[in-house]
């Protein structure tokens, strides 16, 4: 029953896409600036059908309707309600439906909110967006139908991978999807802009908010994913340069570059071609990422739901997207004249873009090189953290310096700027770094440099905040907040990396172990029966011998029943200055447990600063709304 309803709704989405394209095409020929009412109505129908189809699937999951193959494969009656709902997008088919939902949602919102802009441009955008929608709906119907039914109806489902049963992971995909799929709208807008000759400042204004929205969500999505890896995978790290993490980082670099250069287009009416390239590139990279993750071409901890036949379809689609955008770009591209003064804000934004392009290429090479090598020469390698650390980390230093100095310049011309204050701030940073170096232990020259520039950026952001607050320059806030977040992020990663403590040992109940200033006592072990898993909980007493303070840590081993899987839940005590992180795993045939203890300073600040970075974007959106 649900299967039929769902499929009918998906067909209705497809039909309304065709009708929208047809009507928009007719309407473009009419020379006025009013978009026909029919198109609004069709879009409204389309969004309604899309949301309803998604709700149908959610209902299938809530009621554990195992007549749907998708529910049967990914759910179980014993699962808590929250994870039943999250299970909707915790699998390939359901997440593709979510993907379509976001495509349609952005298509609808773009049509409604951009009413001030040129009609031909809006309708062209709508046409391109609906071509994308058709592409993905056809993919859904042919290859990944979440509404496929199964007969006879099984009595019980197979269950959701327990490692995915985590609140952070339940919100991670929707956040990332809004970020990645949201890029589709300015992909379409860029195509439309080239077609309708709607260029320059106007175009920049039409896409700016959409770029910011998707940037915020991408940043949040990546952060939440990282938090999940920290809590759930039990490795105690926050970034592994895993190919799938990289796949999410690639569009982020492109979109960050875009978010900066779109301002140049708005203020100076130049860099149009570059903005178009970035618009196209961001979505192309998002789809490339999807291809890499879903096709099974990569092997990584994250690769779930891999299936080569999906890969062929996404690849075909990707190829068409790239060719279409290249051909249109080359046909419509006209030479621009650039007129930049060296000492201007736009020059620094351009420099930011070069850095972003460099980071992008580095990560792209690191991610794709193993695939290429495997295909061409049959040699299997994996590119790990050392490569990225060597290539990226040294460049962070000039990058942050330019990031600090750049915003001090004005647009177009700023000859009369003096840097006395900045030099002062820089020396402040050097002194603070010396304190850290002296009191907490020595580190390499590179780390010194990184600490100095990060502190420099943070201090400068505070000064800028004070200045723009007293002059009531609200439009500077978002930039200051995000840059401050970035400075904090680099500093906390540096400190975390420098002062982490990690030890591995075996312990049995009643024993204790001394590590540096800490004493770990294994008190006892408890076995608990939960709804869909059994857990073995260890009770540990952690004493800080220096401060004489006591903490209790309870790591867990969970044995899930459907499907039968073991997961290790870390016990984490987050504090402002550092995190204690303890995992235990059983050693077979012995009463000993393998314990991994870590003390990770400034861990929580990594998440906080990532949220600060994202919040800069949200502040911008709020300010803009108030302005309107």
């Amino acid at each position: 029953m649900l299967s039929n309803i769902g499929e009918i709704l998906v067909f209705l989405i497809l039909a309304s896409s065709f009708l929208i394209i047809y009507n928009a095409y007719l309407d473009i020929k009419i020379r006025n600036q009013i978009v026909k009412k029919t198109i609004y109505n069709l879009s409204l129908f389309q969004i309604t059908f899309t949301i309803l189809s998604f709700f149908t699937l959610i209902i299938g999951f809530i009621h554990s309707d195992f007549s749907l193959i998708n529910v049967y494969e990914n759910s179980h009656t014993a699962k808590p309600l929250f994870y039943k709902i999250a299970g909707t997008w915790g699998n390939h088919e359901g997440s593709l439906l979510l993907w379509i939902n976001i495509l349609v949602l952005f298509s609808f919102l773009f049509l409604i909110f951009n009413f001030r802009h040129n009609k031909k441009f809006r309708l062209c955008t709508l046409i391109f967006q609906n071509i994308l929608i058709i592409g993905f709906v056809v993919f859904l119907l042919l290859n990944s139908n979440p509404f496929s039914s199964i007969y006879p109806v099984p009595l019980e489902g197979l269950g959701l991978n327990p490692i995915l049963q985590d609140p952070a992971l339940a919100i991670h995909p929707p956040l990332l999807y809004v970020g990645f799929v949201g890029c589709s709208i300015y992909f379409s807008a860029a195509m439309a802009s080239m077609f309708s000759e709607y260029k320059g400042k106007e175009f920049a204004l039409s896409i700016k908010s959409w770029v910011q929205i998707s940037w915020c969500f991408q940043t949040l999505g990546i952060t939440v994913g990282s938090i999940w890896a920290y809590y759930e995978l039990g490795w105690g790290g926050f970034w592994f340069w895993d190919p799938v993490e990289n796949a999410s980082l690639l569009p982020w670099f492109a979109i960050t570059a875009l978010m900066h250069s779109v301002m140049v287009l708005e203020k100076r009416n130049t860099l149009y071609a570059w903005v178009i390239i970035l618009c196209l590139l961001t979505f192309i990279l998002s789809v490339t990422g999807t291809f890499l993750v879903r096709s099974g071409i990569l092997n990584s901890v994250h690769t779930f739901a891999s299936d080569p036949s999906r890969g062929i379809y996404i690849l075909l689609f990707l190829g068409m997207m790239i060719f279409a955008s290249l051909i249109i770009f080359f046909n419509k591209h006209k030479k621009e004249s650039y007129n930049f003064n060296l000492k201007t804000r736009e020059t620094f934004i351009l420099v930011n873009n070069w850095f972003m392009a460099f980071f992008l290429v580095t990560v792209l090479v690191g991610t794709l090189y193993p695939i290429f090598l495997d295909v061409i020469t049959d040699v299997k390698i994996s590119v790990g953290p050392p490569f990225y650390n060597i290539v990226i980390i040294p460049l962070i230093v000039p990058f942050i310096i330019l990031m600090t100095v750049g915003p001090q310049f004005k647009w177009i011309n700023s000859q009369d700027i003096k840097f006395n204050k900045n030099i002062f701030v820089f020396f402040g940073a050097v002194i603070i770094n010396l304190f850290i170096y002296y009191f907490f232990g020595s580190y390499s020259i590179l780390t010194n440099l990184i600490f100095i520039v990060a502190i420099f950026l943070i201090l400068q952001c505070f000064l800028d905040a004070k200045k723009s607050f007293s002059k009531n320059k609200k439009f500077e806030y978002p930039r200051i907040i995000s840059h401050l977040g970035f400075g904090l992020l680099v500093l906390s990663i540096g400190i975390n990396h420098q002062y982490s403590l990690e030890v591995d040992f075996n312990l049995k109940v009643g024993e204790n172990k001394k590590v540096n200033n800490y004493e770990i006592f294994f008190e006892n072990i408890k076995i608990e029966q939960n709804k869909n898993y059994k857990s073995v909980i260890g009770n540990f007493k952690l004493t800080d011998l220096k401060k004489n303070s006591v903490q209790y840590l309870d790591p867990e081993i969970r044995v899930y029943s459907d499907p039968e899987t073991l997961t290790y839940e870390a016990a984490i005590k987050s504090r402002i200055t550092s995190d204690f992180y303890l995992t235990m795993s059983n050693v077979s045939r012995s009463e000993y447990y393998n314990i991994k203890f870590q003390n990770k300073p400034f861990m929580i600040w990594i998440w906080i600063s990532a949220f600060i970075i994202a919040s800069g974007g949200f502040v911008q959106l709020v300010l803009k709304k108030n302005e309107n």
Partner: protein, 173 residues
Amino acid sequence: MKISIFKIIIFSFVIFFLLVFWLGLKKNNNYDTNNIIGNKISNFQLSSIYNNKSISEEVLKKNKFTLINFFASWCAPCRTEHKYLLNLSNKNDDVKILGINFKDKKNNAISFLNELGNPYDFVAEDTEGKASIFFGIYGIPESVLVDSELVIIKKIVGPIDLEQYEAILQLTQ
């Protein structure tokens, strides 16, 4: 559209990328048990867990059949298949067993074998799990049965059970 060298380069790049992706998709079957049968194991070099002596394909070519078994002391299912391996090594002299210790610590592996008995004619170490990739291994226990030409005649994913054990005996008669 005017054709220029720059555009040709860009298009060739894109075509190259897409082609490699496409080939990558077609190629991605090294985890499929059926496809690996009939393949020949190419040159490998492992060192023995007991004395660091090297074990290479030359050693295996002397045997009529070799069962290459991947195990680790931390792997629970490896214990369940252990009795079949012991039986095999007692019953059938035509089959030699090479144990490859996968992502394990040397001492743990040795005490594992002391405790449960050692069915292996050779025990090699693969501490980082890198060498095992060449055998198409992605999780243990897994076993590969090869003949004297090092052609794979059977691959077993997961622990060896009675059925698989009998299949090995039949294949090696």
